[in-house]
Amino acid sequence: SIALSFLLTSHAAAAITREAERKRRGRRRRRRSISSALLLLNPRLKSFPSRRLIGVPLLLTLGGFITRQVPLPLPSLAASRISFDLPSIGFNFRCVISLMGVEVATNYAKMEEDISLTDSQLVYSFRLALKSVSSGDTESYRRLVDVMNPSGRLAPDEAALLLTSTKALSGAVADIDDLHHEKLLKAIFNLSLWNFGPDVIDALLELIVSLAASNGKHVDSCLDMLVSNFTPPNKVLDMLKQPRGLEKKERVLPRVHAALKNISELVPMAASRLSSIVLEQMPWKSKRNVDQWSMKRQLIYVENMFKLESGAIREFVGANMLKDVMNVLRDLDVAIGWDDILHDDSSKGVFMIELEDENYADGDEDADADGKLPSTLSEKSLSKNLTAELLDSLMVQTFEHLESSVSNKRLSEVFDTLLSSFKDTVLNTYKSKFTQFVMFYACALDPEHCGTEFASELIDMFVGGHNPLTSRMSAVAYLASFLARGKFLPPAFVASYLGRLVDWCWQYCVMHDGDMNPKLHQVFYSGCQAMMYILCFRMRLMVEIPLLKSQLFCMPIDKIFKHKLDPLKVCLPSIVEEFLKQAKAARLFTSSKTFVFEDLLVSNLSRDFGGLERLDMFFPFDPCLLKNADSFIRPNYVYWKYVRTTYHEDIDDDDEEDGSDGEVEGAAEFDDDMEEVIISRSYGDNDLEMDEFDYAMNKMSITPRNNSSAGLRMPSRIRPSMSPESL
């Protein structure tokens, strides 16, 4: 044992000479004495008889030196772990001096004297331990690595040790070298913050931030570590919905985001790296199967992405976050199988199919029996599809994020990014099914600004001759579907964009004085079909408002349809049929030829103009089949079932189709229809009110107010209107 003590003393002496670099000259003697004193207290040296005797005074002197902030040569005691307790003095505390530094785990209440090393001394000892690795002395370093590699649940003293070591390491980051301290860095970066308490998390994040700021090489790994903490370990993932899980989430995520913000403040270029790192670490990537785990992970990951989008560093990463989320939505969308059998198989028209979808959406359990709909794409089959479920949940998250953007008054900048992402990706995605509803919902939240921007972009894209053909056709299909389905769009808005569309089509007719040729004039035919589609949904509304009615009747619609290019033959038969029915009833346009379609949905001609991608049958905003997402969309959506057409039977009138018997324009009959119309407010369009007043006034006069090109005739019947508003 004496030999051992000599060994230890010499070891201590060696350590002291190493420290001779420090500029604290006069205190060397004192340090030597302290180190030997500590050696004497080593319980392993049992043969020292006077251990107990000298114990107390030694401790007190030790305390005295410590309070005067003398750096202790602790690494020199690397060989042993000294612990002592002094029950005889009645001090009820345990002082643990570990090799790394001194950590005082004062666990118990009764303390007469607080023995602690200052932070600077702790840091100093850590730095020495780190520096000594390059010279071959890895003992203390290895123990440090062990401390930073906790496994399982941490006992309180282990947690305290981790806490203190982390804090000390934060000060020593300048000496952490990626070459020599690879294991330590690996240990630090593998830690999952979800397992620890708040103060340990704070300390760890402080360490990460200091690490990133001290050396540019560590920035990427630090960001990686932070981003990997976006998702919790599997155990926590399970209970995320429960209070315990929620509490953990609240504990970890805000701190992680604060750490990201701190890093980008200290290292400006880090923010530019963050977007690519976030993209890399996405739990679900395209062409992978979705299972329960990846679904949950993806959901919380996207939640974090949205936090970044609206958080402190949104200036640098926000746009990329949004675009990446849209890409994920689109990838999931594409991954869901889309069977074209849905349209080709059944001989029903476009509008009929939707009625059946309606039944499903209403949760009608019995609808299964009557549907001739193949089961590939129906709400029922989708509900069993995990990919669809993930897409559904992600879309709901996106909608909620849009709602929160409204409350933060950020919707316009979010929308700008969404729109550019839409143009780049979704617009040209072959038959994207549901992703576009993000745009729909955003427009619903702010029709004036977002709706206008969306419609303008679409029509500009259609009209712009330099754009690729499929983009133009896609854009006009989106425009038509949007104007038809957006319940929040006022009729005047629809009318103005319809007007632009009609004008373009007419210009095209004038410029291209050719014969019908579906393949050559694809763009034109898609434009005409869009016109008809919009009118199928909105004709009644527009015709009921005198101003819009006159606008509508001034449009060269009949000229277009009577032109040589003959769109009525080429466009989708079901739409043409419906349009003709309505136009006839509204006296807008009646075709001189009769079209016998035999309930055909598609014809060869429409297939020709639709091209390979069948853009003739592309109705992007057809009812959303994702249940949860649909609940957001519903209040803003126009269902075909509820659309009042111009030939619709009115509540007060038994005798419906006045205009159904063959003959052409009768201004009389038209006036009759108008008189009998009951203006119901089922759409809640408030700007109808002023027009309605005018309309009500007009109804009381008997002068014909129809200024269409049809011949004016005196009304044959004048009946008092049954509508209450006119009275």
Binding site: A213, P268, M269, A271, N320
Partner: protein, 233 residues
């Protein structure tokens, strides 16, 4: 502040055919992709450029992809800190072991405690850490101070600078300027070292709060692009 220089360069960019309808935009995009990165050719970090095409046209290269080659003449603002140069930056964090500085708004610099001269003592005041000069209590370095420091080395990949506050002419700029005023009024002749002369020729750049450079300089350095904070599209 040293390390900034304006370089005249002859460049050639190759543009994709799809960008031929707006070549100017394409040229700007190509050059902007080079910003805030270290380039061996320029021996520094490109911060700003002022470019024009002398011929006003580009040649279409023969080949599978007919790229358009455009010759350009450009004036480039290059930042190339070398060891022993004096740089100025804003302190963002003061810790006992290090001072973190941001130079020109994009480059992070760190000065470890070993490189801080003994005159400076670390103190904590109101929860904030700061370094106080023992000989001049007014000389304080804390978060938000603009300081001048000497470059020890720079990591070109990450644009990370290691600095030092050991030389006597380093520290808080305000205090240094004040003290140099005093010495200037005393002595008539200004001691111009080669370094100072070089920086005078290049024009003294004023660094504003947010790290953007405002030029107020001799005529041949007439570029008008402001340096922006790093933005990643």
């Amino acid at each position: 502040m040293e390390g900034l220089s304006v370089v005249a360069a002859n460049l050639k960019v190759f543009l994709q055919p799809s960008q031929s309808n707006n070549l100017t935009l394409a040229i700007f995009r190509e050059l902007s992709a080079l910003l805030f990165k270290y380039h061996d050719e320029f021996d520094g970090v490109l911060l700003a450029y002022n470019v024009h095409a002398p011929e006003n046209k580009g040649r279409i290269l023969p080949g599978v992809h007919p790229f358009i080659a455009v010759r350009l003449e450009a004036k480039l603002l290059v930042f190339s800190p070398k060891p022993d140069m004096l740089l100025e930056g804003k302190v963002v964090k003061v810790a006992e072991e290090s001072i973190h500085v941001i130079v020109l708004g994009f480059s992070s610099a760190v000065i470890t405690d070993e490189d801080i001269r003994n005159e400076f003592k670390y103190k904590t005041k109101h929860g904030q850490g700061l370094y106080v000069n023992r000989s001049n209590k007014r000389h304080v370095i804390k978060a938000g101070t603009m300081i001048r420091f000497v470059v020890k080395s720079m990591n070109e990949e990450t644009l990370h600078i290691y600095g030092s506050l050991i030389p006597a002419n380093t520290g808080s700029i305000k205090i240094l300027e004040k003290s140099s005023e005093h010495t200037n009024t005393e002595s008539v002749t200004i001691n111009s070292t080669p370094k100072k002369r070089r920086s005078k020729e290049q024009g003294v750049a004023q660094i504003t709060e947010h790290g953007s450079i405002v030029k107020d300089a001799p005529s041949h350095n007439n570029y008008d692009r402001e340096i922006k904070k790093p933005r990643r599209s």
